[in-house]
Symmetry: D2
Subunit: 110 residues, 4 copies
């Protein structure tokens, strides 16, 4: 897919009920990707810790760090979603997006 088409598709993404898409800016995508690369490295690190019988407390500390890092990724995703998709769809009178958002927030609160 060429860059132009991709942008066009992205712009209309919020109200295409058939196939919704997210629409983060290149900066946000780069930020998210580098965070996820770091998290992937941390998971590999934890596997190494298990393999080398690292003390349980230290492994749990490392898992907590990954959990926090994943929480940050969720918050960035949610911010993009709210500021673009939710605002746009609410302004168009589509209130179904609010129920959807509520489900997502409840999942994050559990």
């Amino acid at each position: 897919m060429d860059e132009l088409n991709k942008t066009a598709e992205t712009e209309s993404s919020c109200h295409a009920t058939s196939e919704r898409r997210s629409h983060h800016s290149p900066e946000v995508k780069k930020n998210l990707t580098s965070r996820l690369n770091r998290i992937e490295g941390q998971i590999r690190g934890i596997k190494g810790m298990i393999d080398k019988d690292t003390y349980c407390d230290d492994v749990i500390t490392q898992i907590s760090a990954v959990q926090s890092a994943l929480n940050s990724v969720s918050k960035i995703l949610l911010e993009g979603h709210l500021k673009h998709c939710v605002v746009e769809r609410v302004q168009e009178g589509d209130e179904e997006v609010v129920d959807e958002l509520l489900t997502t927030i409840k999942r994050l609160m559990k």
Copy 2:
């Protein structure tokens, strides 16, 4: 390191203050490693979702699944730690392990 030495070291691991080690059975280590491999795959999947502009809600759902999977890993680690290290050290009269455990639990509760 040969298997015999490894076992010997493992057995004495709980009270070696110089360099504490964990001491999961081969079955538990295999279980933890396969869980972490699956988590690593999920993280790579989430990167792919970001790259393909997957709808935000679906990405957050996937992140929640990884958080639950990491929670399970923490619980397995903690169970092994409690049933071996904590019990052994408390029976030897070492109560410092209890403060350490409390710190770990507080980290998990945050």
Copy 3:
């Protein structure tokens, strides 16, 4: 304040920056109040458990139940806020409400 004035004030509440108000229906308010009454009773029950040296595990179980009940109250409040205030203000072009909402969600996710 008479009921008529109260309603009038409530209806205009979402865009009064000087003094924002919530605007739950009488049914929702009754629901929230009865949940909070029950929670207050549970707290008193927990005080009684402490006083009578009830076993720690049972007290913690009871505290967890209160935490879940408070979570439900937060979700009901958030649902009302989203469906009324946020939708109304976004439709009026006020996007500041989205930053505010994000702060609230982050507080609930912590």
Copy 4:
């Protein structure tokens, strides 16, 4: 029940399977009770906020404060439980207490 008998019962509480009791010092009990009194007051405050249509965000902030305060109560209870009951029973060779503790911790981690 007179104070003497109460103390006697408390001291033997950790290994009485028939009716387990907690055994916090008078200072800890006073601390817990005053925390719970404050929490009860906060709950009443939240009811008042609902009644007066206080802005949703402010109510949620107040609920979060109560959740943190309840978490602190759980941590104090757990610390007492670990340092007295768990240590005592493990030293007596009763390892069932460890499974019980694990269940409690998992409840706190949920």
